[in-house]
Amino acid sequence: MAYNNAIPQGGDRIRVSRPQILENFIQIKNLVDVNHVTFGDAAGQGKHKFITFPRQAVAPVPAATEVAIWGALGTTGNTELFFRNGALPSAWEMTSANKNISGWTMTPAGILIKWTSAIINSAAGGPFDAIWPATGTDIPFATQLWGLVQIGADPGNTAKDVNAVAYVTDISNPAHVTFRVWRRNLASVPGTNQNPFSIWVLAFGLP
């Protein structure tokens, strides 16, 4: 029997209503026992011992003074937690991430953090674009707020002094961080080329 909110009806006899009412009480307890501390539990009846978020097909729209958290299909292909502040126009998936050498993570604040590493083979000083990989699951920046590029070592000869410094010149294109390279060669003559070298890139932005 299922929960029935259409009983008892006027004219129903008690012998008819009795099992219906009893079943409703059983169903109420069954529902409460999912995720909640049950009736009469001294640990705090009504509190949440576990919160299960079934995947929602339609996103809730909280009022301007509310927030909402729900489960929905994320960029990862799994159910992720979404968050929406009712005072803001859009929601974001706050638990999604691509956990890889080139990866990204969302944060509860809605900030997107991306990182990657790459090898620069060019002998020139740039500008170069450190392009965010689009492989696997990806949330592209809509707006890139902050970027950093650091020179690493020569990936084929880690004992070599690459004598180079990277400096970011442009983050306005959310698809990449643009940077230049200044090289100091062994004789301290700027511009002499040494390559290849690694770069380590980190950026913050909005999805």
Binding site: R18, F25, K29, Q45, K47, F50, K99, T158, W200
Partner: protein, 231 residues
């Protein structure tokens, strides 16, 4: 009277059932009054807050393939125990990502490094961010091979990487021994993935005359910042 699902027996008179029915309705309202917006007001059924008692779970609850879970448990970490840690659990798994927040780090000495402080922060996505602020870093032994290894080690109140993805190390010029601020050191990372505990790096010291290569290290006192991302 407590909530009772064994009422309204077949032979019960209504006068016997009436108080039991009343008690059940009262118990429902009492339970829902915890955390939930109660009956007969706007927003009934919504959540005022989520109070999550820690249950000392012996095992992580399962989630169905399309569910997402959240719960609270104690977090044993490197010999310490942290209570009431929020856990985020991906769908269709029995594993959870603990969300203990950041720690200020313990003070300890590992020659030649003095680490103060070291911390970590795990995001709900499961990504772990770690940082270290070495206030005193010494290069003691002249060597032609300036390759070094930074080792996070294991500290009681800082989470360990299972896998490290990305790292950055930058020097801090200090007012240490004379000439240190005139002899900047450059760190270049070349491997972070071989071990979750180790960052492999080169250390180059600007050492007169300009252009010495590889720059033989001499005693250097400074500091460094470390930032790393992993899981």
């Amino acid at each position: 009277m407590a909530y009772n699902t064994n009422i309204l027996n077949r032979l019960d008179a209504l006068e016997d059932s009436q108080p039991e029915l009343l008690a059940n309705f009262a118990a429902i309202a009492t339970l829902l009054g915890q955390d939930h917006v109660n009956f007969n007001v706007a927003d009934a059924g919504k959540h005022n807050k989520l109070t999550m008692p820690e249950k000392n779970k012996a095992s992580i609850p399962n989630t169905n393939a399309t569910d997402y879970g959240m719960f609270v448990s104690n977090l044993p970490l490197n010999g310490a125990l942290f209570p009431n840690i929020l856990n985020f659990q991906s769908s269709g798994t029995t594993s959870a990502q603990s969300f203990p927040g950041s720690f200020s780090g313990a003070h300890y000495t590992q020659a030649p490094f003095i680490i103060d402080p070291v911390g970590s922060m795990r995001l709900p996505s499961g990504i772990l961010i770690k940082w270290a602020n070495y206030t005193r870093f010494q290069l003691l032994s002249p060597t032609d091979d300036a390759r070094m290894e930074f080792n996070w080690g294991q500290k009681n109140n800082v989470e360990d990487f299972v896998q490290q993805y990305w790292a950055l190390i930058t020097p801090i010029a200090t007012n240490g021994a004379a000439g240190d601020q005139d002899n900047p050191v450059v760190f270049t990372v070349y491997d972070v993935t071989t071990s979750p505990y180790i960052i492999k790096l080169l250390c180059f010291l600007k050492n007169p005359p300009l252009g010495s290569f590889p720059s033989p290290v001499k005693t250097y006192e400074g500091g460094l910042f470390v930032l790393a991302i992993g899981v």
